[in-house]
């Protein structure tokens, strides 16, 4: 915090009030409601509810479908983060080396960041449709690809759809990270070491570590939440629920199944997962400021 600050009886509340009011009504109130839902069971006909302790949680956690979704979400997060980060880094290094036409190269790579997940999903849908899909027929000729029936093929489908857009987000951040590295360090390393490959792994990559950490977190949150639009427009959980993420499942159970208790419990489990991620993220971002 600042050393010099204002003292006031009233002004500070005025400035914070608008955001606080919106947050109280549209964030804290729903959170309280989520907890109420999670620890109660509602009468199927809507006549009142009773306290159920952890019943909803045990119900959710012992449901095989939930465990399938949990397993898929973990694989999903790992694959998306790994592939989109490494390809993004590769492209950023290339862009950083390009001297002529740098901005054209940058522009070519930056825009998929702005496309909505749902639009990506619908687009992917056409490439993987049985009748028109170019990628469908390509993979189908290779090994009989069929995501309608085969779990692993369905995995491949959603992995490609979900990573595509994320590559460009990673690219932007890596490029910014690369450009923040001081020229003198790079010049000095050129004198010491001829192999540009080794130079990258021993000098550049360690200097990019803060960016990498930050991006891992960003990608995890993306794979966790934002992919709902992708799943809902591609496989919708096909072949039979194997490609449902946790967020997608909570949405389906809550809105389609109207099982508020289960949806509430699922939300709280996810909040705990996000809590862990955010604590990590917050400490890291705070640390990065000192680092710079």
């Amino acid at each position: 915090m600042k050393k010099v600050q204002f003292n006031s009886y009233f002004t500070q509340y005025f400035f914070v009030a608008p955001q606080l009011i919106i947050i109280l009504i549209f964030l804290y109130l729903p959170i309280v409601q989520t907890f109420t839902d999670a620890f109660t069971i509602q009468d199927p006909f809507g006549f009142g509810r009773y306290f159920a302790g952890f019943d909803n949680f045990t119900f959710v956690l012992s449901d095989p479908a939930y465990l399938t979704a949990l397993r898929f979400t973990l694989i999903f997060i790992f694959v998306i983060t790994f592939f989109s980060c490494s390809i993004g880094l590769l492209l950023a290094v290339q862009a950083n080396n390009v001297i002529h036409g740098k901005s054209a190269y940058k522009t070519l790579l930056i825009w998929p960041y702005a496309i909505a997940p749902a639009v990506v999903g619908v687009t992917a849908n056409y490439f993987f449709s049985e009748r028109l899909g170019l990628l469908y027929s390509f993979f189908h000729n290779l090994w009989g690809f069929d995501w309608y029936d085969n779990v692993h093929d369905a995995y491949i489908y959603v992995f490609i759809a979900a990573s595509w857009k994320q590559i460009s987000a990673n690219f932007i951040f890596f490029l910014a990270g690369l450009q923040n590295i001081q020229k003198s360090i790079i010049e000095a390393s050129v004198i010491d070491c001829k192999s540009s490959f080794r130079r990258f792994w021993t000098i550049t990559f360690p200097l990019l570590m803060p960016t990498t950490f930050f991006l891992i977190i960003i990608n995890i949150t993306y794979a966790f939440f934002d992919t709902l639009g992708i799943i809902d427009t591609t496989t919708i959980g096909a072949p039979s629920g194997e490609t449902k993420t946790l967020v997608f499942k909570a949405y389906i159970d809550g809105f389609r199944g109207l099982d508020l208790g289960s949806a509430g419990a699922q939300s709280i489990i996810m909040m705990l997962i996000v809590l862990v991620i955010t604590v990590f993220q917050f400490r890291f971002i705070e640390g990065r400021i000192h680092y710079n």
């Binding site: 915090m1 600042k2 010099v4 600050q5 204002f6 003292n7 006031s8 002004t11 400035f15 914070v16 608008p18 955001q19 606080l20 919106i22 947050i23 549209f26 964030l27 109130l29 729903p30 959170i31 409601q33 989520t34 839902d37 940058k106 522009t107 070519l108 790579l109 930056i110 825009w111 998929p112 960041y113 702005a114 496309i115 909505a116 997940p117 749902a118 639009v119 999903g121 619908v122 687009t123 056409y126 490439f127 028109l132 910014a176 923040n180 949150t221 939440f225 709902l228 809902d232 427009t233 967020v247 909570a250 949405y251 809550g254 509430g264 996810m270 909040m271 996000v274 809590l275 400021i289």
Partner: protein, 254 residues
């Protein structure tokens, strides 16, 4: 990266029968104007009364509303957090930042409940307000304020500036780049919302472009291709033309 989008675009300029018989196309056809005109101006939906142009208008209202509201409230809240000394400062800080834990996807059922209790279903207010309850911009503005040297405030105080004057005459002009970056970020975020409009709007008058993706809005395949291309234009153009401010604001705002 661009290949899939190009194929969709090229295919969207052919007639429907070409796509049905020969599959997707790599080169442009001659139906560009006809197909795009058809998509933008044909009435569709269940009641056959809304056009895609209307959906675009809704999306813009929603995205600009979310971006503007979030920036104004976040600028002000960050100001309180950084520049005022009072005993609730620390709890307040946490009360706001804990919200980063709970994206809309996690509180979607109860949010729907509250919005419907407030009679905001099928209103622009209902589309905008819950998505503006976000602390991300507050976080960025806070970081930005913290990077402004203390001497600025000292000097301003010597000149007799009070907290209002300092905010309006000093901080706001300094925050311009950051505000632009946040506006781009929040606009794209708001425009790209998918789940909330689906849940929130039962009337076609409030449908947005992105949710129209799922609900079959166009009858034939080429028109759906054209719709996909049109729907990604606004955020993509904003990013391409304003990328300099975006990147500057997020990475070099010191």
């Amino acid at each position: 990266m661009i290949v899939p989008i190009w194929i969709i675009f090229a295919s969207s300029t052919h007639s429907n029968s070409v796509i049905q018989s020969d599959g997707m196309q790599w080169f442009m056809g001659d139906q560009f104007i006809k197909n795009y005109d058809q998509v933008l101006n044909k009435k569709g939906g269940f009641s056959e009364e809304v056009t895609a142009t209307k959906l675009f208008l809704n999306s813009f209202i929603m995205a600009i509303g979310i971006a503007t509201l979030t920036i104004i409230t976040s600028l002000m809240a960050a100001y309180t957090i950084v520049y005022f000394r009072f005993k609730f400062a620390v709890p307040l800080f946490w009360a706001i930042f804990i919200t980063l834990l709970v994206p809309l996807e996690l509180r979607i059922m109860p949010s729907y409940q509250i919005v419907s209790d407030l009679h905001l279903i099928n209103t622009y207010t209902g589309l905008i307000l819950p998505l503006s309850a976000s602390a991300i911009a507050t976080f960025f503005f806070r970081q930005f304020y913290l990077s402004i040297p203390d001497e600025l405030l000292e000097a301003a105080k010597l000149d007799g500036a009070n907290s209002w004057k300092f905010f309006i005459d000093f901080l706001l002009p300094l925050s311009k780049t950051m505000m632009a970056a946040m506006f781009i970020f929040m606009f794209v975020y708001g425009y790209n919302q998918y789940l909330w409009p689906i849940i929130m709007t039962t009337s076609e008058k409030y449908w947005t472009v992105i949710m129209g993706m799922k609900i079959i809005f166009m009858a034939n395949t080429v028109e759906r291709f054209a719709y996909i291309i049109l729907s990604m234009m606004p955020p993509v153009f904003i990013i391409i033309f304003l990328q300099r401010w975006f990147i500057q604001g997020l990475f070099q705002s010191k």
